[in-house]
């Protein structure tokens, strides 16, 4: 066996996949700049709307006006990284399932789910930098934002953003695998995105949702994708609140990744490669 043919150990494969995904998304500079512009425009519009809303109801949802406006910019900054409005690997994976290329992927001496998780983490890392920092700076210049001064809060926020990426990945992986059973999985991906927009805090902070609806959406996994990280940065969660928030994310991540693994097992049992 030559040196080239020996499989790389897992400890270097997955970081290499993540780094590759980072570079891949970093290639599209114009698209990234366009995304920053769009997110900033939406940030401006929503920030004024939130200011008008919180002007009528100060302390709505437990936020002051400055926190509410900051929530808008956190959301705009996280859209790319957490794939809150779609985007990411799922269309590509579905296309590989549909075309049968998935058979090649399954032959590789790597785990399918971990491969795409590493890929998605690399993508998210780039998009947090490339598409997140710009809108956040734009928001901070134009509005009074509530941003923490203690570096530890920022670190916990970043940890929570990573948690958000993993939960987001786990959901999208489940939806993408549905392509093994559906001829066209794009409708499911779309409905998944809408659920994400509705129940993550992207539409409105989940603390503003009324009554039972509010209780339900705050317990669903999508809450881990924006509401929890935002509450950590806004210092609405402090002390044990931060810990329960991170545990909430971790619990959903484990549950959904396990479900993904189970579905992957079912799916790969039924793979029939169409030959010619």
């Amino acid at each position: 066996m030559t040196a080239e043919a020996r499989p790389r150990p897992a400890a270097t494969v997955y970081p290499a996949v993540a780094a590759g995904a980072f570079r891949r998304y970093a290639t599209y500079r114009v698209a990234t700049a366009a995304g920053v512009l769009t997110n900033t425009v939406f940030g401006f519009v929503l920030a004024y709307v939130y200011l008008a809303l919180w002007d009528q109801r100060p302390q709505l949802g437990g936020y002051g006006p400055e926190q509410a406006v900051t929530f808008v910019w956190i959301g705009q900054a996280m859209i790319g990284a957490v794939a809150l409005l779609g985007g990411g690997f799922q269309e590509e994976l579905q296309e590989r399932i549909r075309s049968g290329d998935i058979a090649v992927d399954l032959y590789r001496p790597v785990d399918l789910q971990l491969w795409w998780l590493a890929h998605d983490c690399g993508r998210a890392a780039f998009q947090l930098l490339g598409r997140g920092v710009g809108p956040m700076l734009g928001g901070a210049v134009a509005f009074d934002l509530h941003l923490p001064t203690h570096p530890l809060v920022w670190l916990l926020f970043l940890l929570s953003v990573w948690g958000a990426v993993v939960v987001s990945f786990a959901i999208r992986y489940l939806l993408a695998l549905a392509a093994f059973w559906l001829l066209d999985g794009s409708g499911l991906l779309m409905l998944g995105t809408f659920l994400g927009v509705f129940a993550s805090g992207m539409l409105l902070p989940l603390t503003v949702f009324p009554g039972l609806l509010g209780d339900v959406v705050r317990a669903l996994p999508w809450a881990a994708m924006l509401q929890v990280p935002a509450d950590i940065l806004l210092e609405r969660r402090t002390g044990t609140g931060v810990l329960t928030g991170l545990l909430f994310q971790a619990a959903w991540a484990v549950a959904l990744l396990t479900a993904g693994r189970f579905l992957q097992l079912l799916a790969t049992r039924k793979v029939v490669v169409q030959g010619g």
């Binding site: 512009l37 769009t38 004024y48 008008a52 066209d184 499911l188 409905l191 949702f209």
Partner: protein
Amino acid sequence: MVDALRAYVLTAGMWMRASLAYRTSFAMSLLGSFIGSGLDFVAIMIMYSHIDALGGYAVAEVALLYGATSLSLGITDLLVGNVSRVGTNVRNGTVDTLLVRPVPVFLQLAADRFALRRLGRVTQGALVMGWALVALGPVRAAWSPLDWLLLVVMVLAGAGIYGALYALGGAFQFWAQDAAEVQNAFTYGGNTLLQYPPTVFAGELVRGVTLVIPLAFVNWVPAASLLGRDAPLNLPGFTAWLSPLVAVAACCGAALVWRAAVNSYRSTGS
């Protein structure tokens, strides 16, 4: 001109039949378009569960603004929405094919992959508009036939203004192929802006979208007249009827830019 439109209708019809071949998939994507575009209204309803007026506008008034801009954008998105994907054609060099056919490139692009599912957004906007008209009660009861005409003109002219933005966004992609999202900032971003009353926004922003990008004429200016309110920037009353002129002017400007963009196309290398 008639031939060109005939080609558009034929191509669009072909794509409609193609999408209807997979009925479940089509129904789902239609529903998706309906829900996706309607989420913003859910947000507005949640906001109004906490307040009575936003920027001084009651929920029925905001619903009229929302319905008008959704209908306008929906019509434009349905008819010419696919122009926003021209960057892909430029990158692949497939604009070559379009240039040798005896139909305007713009119409070919608009008809290509015509997405009937976008009726979902139109339906959603029409439903909200209908609800707004019911909820406006006494205000609407006092409308003259001229006001009803203004309502129709508002929606159609709004579609024209959005159409100009789609064309400009498409033209820009001839120079920056990956910049498809730039136009989202103006079309979808503008749509989100116009769902809310002008009184919510800072003066400079309102001036910008009235005088520079004429988005305010999509609904803010005509709707102010319908609702008996002051127009943004205290524009005089007759400006409510200016939106068709603004739409025509915007479309002419966009057509010139589009032409320049197509002329600058150099195909792909190698």
